[in-house]
Symmetry: C2
Subunit: 163 residues, 2 copies
């Protein structure tokens, strides 16, 4: 039995008490961009309820082209008007460099990824980088609020990053 099988058992229990469906557009008009880190339960740490906000997550919570794509769809087709960026302390992206990571892949597989790994040495500075990428995008322009935070994995607290 895999871990996946165990999660499917949990899902059957979840479905038993489920009441739905909710509408497609996020009721609070918010989009959140966060790191994929296992310790960030975004719904719990923000007190989100189902149906309120889009949640976009990748390695680092970095604003890549795929995040711009997701935010453009979120704003233009589903009406979100606030963006919350969440990086966090003790992030895996602080532990390597793009060059080393891509070289290791090339040595094992013979193929060098054409994409950047997006590692970063300073979490607050990378939040600022992500804020700037959104501000520079011609495709993500509908928000009235854009703020960036570092989640502290030791305390559970979000600390805002000043620009």
């Amino acid at each position: 039995m895999t871990v996946t099988d165990g999660y499917l058992v949990n899902n059957a229990e979840y479905a038993r008490n489920f009441t739905g469906p909710l509408p497609m557009p996020p009721s609070k008009h918010v989009a959140i961009v966060a790191c994929m880190d296992a310790r960030l339960d975004v719904y719990r740490l923000l007190g989100l309820r189902e149906g309120e906000a889009h949640v976009i997550r990748n390695a680092g919570g970095v604003v890549t082209d795929d995040v711009i794509r997701s935010l453009a769809i979120s704003q233009r087709l589903l009406g979100t008007r606030e963006i919350i960026l969440i990086h966090h302390t003790d992030c895996g992206m602080l532990t390597f460099t793009d060059d080393d990571f891509k070289r290791a892949i090339q040595e094992e597989t013979g193929i060098k990824p054409s994409w950047a790994a997006e590692a970063f040495p300073d979490v607050e500075e990378d939040v600022r980088q992500s804020l700037r990428r959104i501000q520079a995008s011609p495709f993500v322009t509908k928000h009235e609020s854009l703020r960036g935070f570092v989640f502290d994995v030791a305390t559970g607290k979000l600390n805002e990053v000043t620009r």
Copy 2:
């Protein structure tokens, strides 16, 4: 007061009862790729606890290069060995075409995105497309389990997609 401000109040409450920190590597060695849809509380619908699994989300839950990047980091640096893909019924990605979406952006801004919007007309077929993209990737090769599901937003149930 923005919705963001309200979520920060919730976070202060969350931090009051927080016990941490947990270790960085996912304790269940699982990575989940899901749609950003507001109705998918991935932790609740799978019964995940903090620290167990990476959670990667974008518009559609589509396997893009950014998802390959995140999965490569997840597997190679943080040891995950199972992948769960989650699309869902009533998805926004079923409601438009790439051509129309990109033309609307071009008409408003003058600039046509260089990325695909990744809209799809059939949710099960797009789960299969995402499974195939992972199987075809030279960079995501460490998993022992790879399965795809459609979450039913009316019942809360995950239904597996056969290949």
